[in-house]
């Protein structure tokens, strides 16, 4: 297993191999996204029971929780890619990091926005400067910072290193988001899913949520791979295999 992972790591480090292998992955990610999001959406919106206190507004959870989940895990992926770039100088890691940022920013914005909409009927307010909400807003600004830094700096190598550094430093915010509901007094409820305990809601509520989460991950895979492939073509334009590929139409 370890050896296999090592080979995969080295191969993915080659732009040519990355481009070729991910081409065959795309339809699988697309198919999984369609199936999971379709099933999860219909199940969550029409079949899951309403919450006995919140009524049907609770259905916003089917976007809110996956979006918040992805917002954080995409950021961690970006930071890991940053470490790989800085320590092992793997250029493909930067391509992946660059492709992750827009999706992560979208997810953070979605989590904030759906949370605000949900807050109106549930808390009676759409925003509060509470620890969870504020740390998520900081995460959003971190994403915007990484994207802006990439645009602002030249040459590419310098921008890559700066983005990696900012992503790594910003990781400190992730545990703050996670434990904010425990450390400070907050309106926000604690985590829906934990590794150690069964969810507090019935299966008819959390199974569609899990399916939505898988769908979000599949869409992330598709979106990031497509962005990364375009970036590989741009950066490797001078390479023989890219020219050959472009001529082939």
């Amino acid at each position: 297993m370890w050896k296999w992972l090592k080979t995969l790591y080295h191969r993915l480090g080659s732009p040519k191999w990355f481009y070729q292998i991910t081409g065959s992955w795309l339809p699988w990610f697309a198919g999984a996204a369609v199936v999971f999001l379709g099933v999860g959406l219909v199940w969550g919106l029409a079949f899951a029971p309403a919450d006995y206190q919140q009524g049907n507004s609770f259905r916003i959870i089917y976007i809110h929780v996956p979006a918040a989940f992805l917002a954080q895990s995409v950021y961690i992926m970006m930071a890991v890619a940053g470490v790989v770039l800085l320590v092992w100088k793997m250029k493909m890691a930067d391509v992946v990091a660059q492709s992750l940022a827009p999706f992560g920013a979208t997810m953070t914005f979605l989590a904030l926005l759906t949370g605000a909409i949900w807050g109106v009927p549930t808390w009676g307010t759409w925003w509060m400067w509470d620890a969870r909400l504020t740390s998520m807003l900081i995460l959003f600004f971190l994403y915007l910072g990484v994207i802006a830094l990439r645009e602002a700096l030249q040459p590419q190598e310098v921008a890559a290193k700066a983005c990696a550094l900012l992503a790594i430093v910003g990781v400190i915010n992730i545990p703050i988001i996670k434990y904010s509901v425990d450390w400070w007094y907050t309106l926000h409820q604690p985590a829906t899913f934990t590794l150690t305990e069964k969810p507090a809601m019935p299966a008819s509520m959390w199974v569609p949520l899990l399916i939505m989460l898988l769908g979000f991950y599949a869409l992330l895979g598709w979106s990031v791979i497509l962005r990364a492939r375009a970036e590989v073509l741009k950066r490797e334009y001078k390479a023989g295999w890219v020219k050959e590929l472009l001529q082939r139409k």
Binding site: N56, L113, T114, P121, Q247
Partner: protein, 72 residues
């Protein structure tokens, strides 16, 4: 289905505004994250193909002038 009727489903127990606006905006942003990378990929490939053709033409032209130079 959890709801008694279709209109019941659209009404969302009086929370229609919140539920449907949240889902509609999310759908829009997800679609953007599908369409934009797709367009970007297509555009990148087209642009690079054009660049490649232009460079090939330039190279052909310069090699012709070189040959002419030798003949003179």
């Amino acid at each position: 289905m959890y709801f008694d009727s279709l209109s019941d489903f659209f009404n969302m127990g009086g929370h229609a505004l919140y539920v449907w606006s949240a889902f509609a905006i999310s759908l829009l942003l997800m679609l953007l994250n599908i369409i934009l990378p797709w367009w970007n990929f297509k555009a990148t490939r087209l642009q690079l193909q054009r660049q490649l053709r232009r460079e090939a033409k330039q190279q052909a032209n310069s090699s012709i002038t070189e040959q002419q130079g030798e003949q003179v």
